[in-house]
């Protein structure tokens, strides 16, 4: 009885403490939960992986802002790593807005450091051959149209200021239709713009990485194959990391996997507390009725 009374009157600060610990402990201990992969993520992974046969490049677009980066940054890392390890030519691109550029840069640095500038087959990663970092160019929609017609002409230089023309990776890239896949990682509706313009107009396959909140509304586009695949929220990113690990045999710190462990703890904690709260509610109610 005492316990239920305590639960009923529980100071919310205990709950705050529990939430804080549920996030911190998995982060420090590198804790992980088993991850089951869902079809949208698997489809995306398979599509990206198939590019190693055609050698058509992948474009990773970091179209998000720092506020959604906890959820979305791991996606960029997992994709970039996959492309490098599987020997797929890859473009890193900050997207149509200025904010993404810095986040794409973080993805570049983090992943390259993690794999120590070496691919799975032992070759070292060479800029210009294995990947190219695209700069920010203003113009919004006109940029997509430009990429559709004249890829090199739209950007002219890469993010380091060197002429794109001189990079070996550009030999087979003239316009968007030479691109194997675009994966737009965004927390906003900008992914739809890529879907409509790059996908429908220029016929380039488009995949998407998005926040858990936006994922629900993208299911219809997955059904119509307007998006070839999707990573939905942190869970999607964790699934992608898991696919990387199991299929490419690489063992690195799974950023989203660990964050997902925190998520699991918090979700389960909330569910557990709600159930306890309800039990105490009923126990106390019955007790009161008995006394009446």
């Amino acid at each position: 009885m005492k316990f239920w009374l305590f639960m009923d009157k529980l100071d919310r600060r205990w709950l705050f403490l529990a939430i804080g610990l549920s996030v911190i402990i998995p982060s420090i201990t590198n804790m992980r939960f088993p991850v089951t992969t869902t079809p949208p993520t698997l489809n995306l992974w398979n599509f990206v992986d198939s590019l190693k046969y055609t050698k058509k490049p992948l474009i990773i677009i970091c179209d998000y802002s720092p506020s959604t980066s906890p959820e979305l940054q791991p996606m960029a890392h997992a994709l970039f790593r996959h492309a490098l390890e599987a020997d797929i030519p890859v473009f890193l691109y900050g997207g149509l807005y200025t904010e993404g550029f810095g986040l794409a840069r973080i993805a570049e640095e983090t992943v390259l450091e993690e794999i120590d500038y070496q691919k799975a087959n032992g070759d070292s990663v060479i800029y210009g051959e294995d990947y190219v970092f695209l700069p920010f160019v203003p113009g919004g929609l006109a940029v997509i149209a430009g990429m559709g017609e004249d890829f090199i002409g739209t950007f002219r230089v890469d993010a380091r200021g060197d002429s794109l023309k001189n990079l070996p990776m550009m030999d087979n890239v003239r316009r968007l239709e030479d691109i194997g896949l675009i994966v737009d990682i965004a927390g906003s509706a900008v992914s739809r713009t890529w879907m409509v313009y790059a996908g429908t107009r220029y016929g380039t396959p488009v995949g998407v990485g998005t926040t858990a909140v936006s994922a629900a509304e993208y299911y219809t586009f997955l059904q119509t194959r307007q998006f070839v695949g999707m990573m939905g929220g942190m869970k999607g990113a964790a699934e992608y990391e898991e696919l990387n690990a199991s299929n490419l045999n690489i063992e690195v710190r799974k950023q989203a996997g660990i964050a997902m462990a925190s998520q699991n703890f918090v979700h389960l904690l909330i569910i557990f507390m709600v159930i306890l709260g309800n039990i105490s509610f009923f126990v106390l109610k019955r007790n009161k009725e008995r006394r009446l």
Partner: protein, 206 residues
């Protein structure tokens, strides 16, 4: 009286009507009108910040003058305001300057993100305190919330089907109902404002 009340109402009426009609005309003349009005609203709106500032300084200078424990904090607020605005306007590089962007990145951004992240604590405490099966409807709310939450965790994938069903059907239905109501209400209220029936935005008095 005309200048005080009738003229503002007339401006709202004429401009409102013009903007409604403008929507249906793709001709560049109409587009230019739209652009100019947007610019006018933007320009005149910029001055409103000065009203906010006057209120800000009114409140905080008075607290400062009272010389009690509130004074220190008001002093901090005033100093931060003047510092930030001064560096942004007069500092080298303006809003792209080294100091201004570093101040932005290490004061406003972390404060913003941290305030926002308090929500993760509050969403838990709200769930704990409010999700009590007091009646059948509260029970429905609680159960759906738990199912959806379970569906979000790693090993909750078996619930994906039902979670998607809840989101796509009952959830969409209720949201559509609410949105339709809001849409009608918005149209009606906008019309009332244009017609001068709703005029509280002018403030009190005659």
């Amino acid at each position: 009286m005309f200048l005080k009340r009738t003229l503002p109402l007339l401006i709202v009426f004429l401009l409102g009507l013009a903007m409604i009609i403008q929507f249906y005309i793709p001709h560049p003349v109409s587009q230019n009108f739209y652009d100019s009005m947007a610019e006018w609203v933007r320009i005149s709106g910029a001055f409103a910040l000065i009203l906010g500032l006057s209120s800000f300084f009114y409140v905080h200078t008075r607290k400062l003058a009272r010389k009690n424990k509130d004074s220190f904090y008001s002093g901090v607020a005033i100093l931060c305001l003047i510092g930030m605005a001064g560096i942004g306007i007069f500092g080298r590089g303006g809003i792209n300057g080294w100091l201004f962007s570093n101040l932005y990145r290490s004061i406003i951004v972390p404060l913003d993100a941290t305030m926002f992240s308090l929500l993760s604590f509050y969403i838990a405490s709200a769930a704990f305190k409010a999700f009590k099966a007091r009646n059948a409807m509260a029970f429905a709310l609680l159960v759906t919330a738990i199912i959806v939450m379970l569906g979000r965790v790693s090993f909750g994938s078996f619930l994906d089907g039902i979670v998607e069903w809840i989101l796509v059907y009952p959830n969409t239905a209720a949201q559509r109902g609410i949105i339709l109501g809001i849409g009608l209400g918005m149209i009606a209220t906008s019309l009332k404002i244009i017609l001068g029936i709703e005029r509280s935005y002018l403030g009190g008095g005659d």
